[in-house]
Amino acid sequence: MMHEEYEELAALEAIGGVTDEESRRLEEHCKGCSSCRHALDDYREAAAGLAIALPPVSPRRDARDSLLIQIQTEAVADSRVAEATEDAAAMRRRTIPSWWSAAAAVLFLALFGWSELRLRALREELTLLETEKNAVITENMRLGNDVQAARSRLDTIRSANQLFRLAASTSSTAASANVFMDATHRRAVIVFTDLEQNDEAHSYQLWIIRGDMKPPMSAGVFDVDADGGGEVELHDMPVDVPIAGLAVTLEPRGGLSAPSGAVLLQGKA
């Protein structure tokens, strides 16, 4: 077949007008022919234009929640399967943090919707997650202390009434964090993902950006593991400080009284 014939095939392929065999032959040819591949890409983009040309219609509002809950649930299931196959040594490092991130994300998303209905769905999710959690506990008795801490975090997350996200200050990193703030009890849980692991000489330091224009206030230091995950739980946050947001810097081990490093993550409360 000549290039011209492949291009014609590409035009048909884009709107589903070829047989499986023709489609395979075309893909094969396109692997080695940039001009036909380019034509095929254009035709597919143009075909998608038929969908874009339609007046858009918003799906049902609750469909978004149900999608996100399905995905979070499947993600939890996936990570449980993946972890079950890891060896016992790796388990201690990984099980709790990744379970936590997924659980935290479910709560984050569910709380985002706010309505009573969603809260009910959230509670069901919670029950499910707690069942999962119990399974993890049975499986890994040695995790005792971590689980204790996890329970306390779950409490905070459950009563969180302010949710926001910390994003990377530069686009060179995918790091982010979800913040669950329970303003009533002056406590918060912050779940970090994709931060670089810190070395022995440095600690990550969390800062409260004050709403009264005064300098940022340290909220403590934390370490990030090789997976890029980390969590911080804050208790007894100051009552008299208006919290405008949070920020993260990398500082000498133990932290400083005022930030000296570049802001790596930040977000508004």
Binding site: A11, L12, I15, L50, P56
Partner: protein, 197 residues
């Protein structure tokens, strides 16, 4: 959740395990995909279900997305369309489709999600207008073979039967229509802009 820092393509982040980015993906593309699914399936519960399946598939296959080969929108549209056509074929569809042909789908949600960011929505609106203009320039028989293939999932021979015309004629007409569309869209700078949303 969308802000200035939100990347142009979300699929790489999703492939890297950011399940929360699926929410942004949904806000960006949900209404285009849902409109397509309603058009193909003509039935809200089905469209809603396939919409969800499509996003789950996108989440699972996010690593397959190659931005060099096309836009995120086109990639998602293709997933949704394939699923919808499969659904259509698995229904005992012919009777239903004939019954429903020409039926207008009532649109109760007038407001379009604007969460994708105002700038993005503006580009999308412009793309829509240019696509509609390019389609309007095609002669009616050419436009109609495209629509039969794309929205009803008919093969070239099924279209030939439907129209009572030789297969060769139908193929030539479809190819001509796609070729014209490609050229016109190229003139309109459509391909570059499509990759910006």
């Amino acid at each position: 959740m969308t802000n200035d820092a939100t990347p142009r393509n979300l699929l790489p982040a999703i492939a890297a395990g950011d399940t929360v980015a699926v929410a942004d993906l949904y806000d960006r593309h949900g209404s285009v995909l849902y409109a397509l699914l309603l058009k193909i399936l003509g039935d809200r519960p089905d469209a809603q279900e396939v919409l969800q399946e499509s996003f789950v598939q996108a989440w699972r296959r996010a690593a397959d997305f190659d931005p060099r080969r096309g836009s995120e929108t086109a990639w998602l549209v293709s997933i949704a369309r394939n699923r919808a056509i499969d659904r259509l074929r698995s229904r005992n569809l012919r009777a239903i489709r004939e019954e429903e042909a020409g039926r207008e789908i009532p649109i109760d949600a007038r407001s379009v999600d604007t969460d994708g960011g105002a700038e993005r929505q503006a580009i999308l609106g412009e793309l829509r207008e240019r696509m509609q203009a390019a389609l309007a320039e095609l002669p009616e028989p050419q436009r109609s073979v495209l629509e039969l293939a794309y929205f009803q999932g008919l093969s070239q021979s099924e279209i030939a039967t439907e129209l009572g015309e030789p297969l060769g004629t139908v193929k030539t007409r479809t190819q001509l229509a796609m070729k014209k569309l490609r050229e016109r869209l190229k003139d309109l700078g459509w391909f570059d802009d499509a990759r910006r949303v």
